[in-house]
């Protein structure tokens, strides 16, 4: 049961729609990207973008908030792309483990000083602010201060913010927003976090 002509017409329509969309998209500039939602893949997709940028030879930086460590990818990538990647971690462990709001806020401020230095670097092409949506959601940092700093960044710099609970004002300001929605999770089926997937 092949429907060759129907298939062809359908594909031609799809092709035309894609071409029309690409024709509208003429501008190249650094984007503000947001990965949010309750599902997996928010930080991991940013990590995939990081690898693509490193593959192009672009200077990149990661500043991790909230999460204390992600040593595997960090160590591997810093070694694999010498001189291209800066990686900093702020905070020690997940917030719900620390129960120390003032300490968390102070650590976010320390991390922000690193972010400001990256935003002032004209050579930087890709900046990942890992779990910063959570920082904003918990009001550990004012979203207005973030958006002002991002608005003043160099034109070619892509910035991706990850984490649940991205506030609406950030979504409004962003160029690209993806919600990672959990459909099914193996922890519910008694499966542990595993190397290579979660860390």
């Amino acid at each position: 049961m092949t429907d060759a002509p129907l298939h062809q017409i359908r594909m031609q329509k799809l092709q035309a729609a894609m071409q029309a969309r690409m024709a509208r998209a003429t501008e190249k500039r650094g984007l503000l990207l947001v990965h949010t939602g309750n599902g997996k893949g928010k930080s991991t997709a940013a990590l995939g973008m990081l690898v693509r940028s490193l593959g192009h030879g672009f200077k990149c930086a990661v500043v991790q908030f909230i999460k204390g460590s992600q040593p595997t990818a960090e160590t591997a990538l810093v070694q694999a792309f010498p001189g291209l990647l800066s990686w900093d971690r702020c905070g020690d462990g997940f917030t719900w483990d620390t129960q120390d709001r003032e300490g968390d806020v102070a650590r976010v401020r320390e991390g922000w000083e690193i972010v400001k230095a990256h935003l002032a670097d004209p050579d930087l092409r890709f900046l990942m602010l890992d779990e910063f949506n959570v920082v904003l959601q918990h009001r550990y940092f004012p979203v207005e201060e973030l958006l002002e700093a991002l608005a003043a960044r160099p034109d070619h710099l892509h910035v991706v913010l990850t984490g649940r609970g991205a506030p609406q004002v950030l979504i409004d300001a962003a160029d690209l927003v993806t919600e990672m929605r959990m459909v099914k999770h193996p922890f519910a089926a008694g499966v542990q976090a595993q190397p290579g997937l979660e860390f």
Copy 2:
């Protein structure tokens, strides 16, 4: 015309095989992961997992379907992790560019031979079947044949399938499913695909 009872028996067998596989390794085992939805981040998140697995020194493989090329990440990672990563591409360009269903199906079959070899490799720890959900959605390959092969794979092998339109039977069989939902996309705002983000 589908033969409903035959299909049902086959699916029951498949379900039993999947359950037996889960019973063999309840805590740590290779997972079947699906990234689907209309948003960005499906392949990119799989790429992030790949980097984590490579960072652990695990042997990994990527077989790309539909998309013709993603040379940046491939070249960079193959060089950065010598001997650990196998990467194959099947198909030449997006399906809506080829308008050649029989040719597409033949290319999928060629790719499947590579997949079968990977599934038989006891040393492999991570296998990415990029855009295979689209292959299934277009019925370029029978989902039952895929699931039977996955049910018989080594216990420790993680497999991630990416692409829009993952069929329900695949979602039912998967351990972890994330839907990447598009909230906002810059093509709509006149921005082109850019190096480091899309490729």
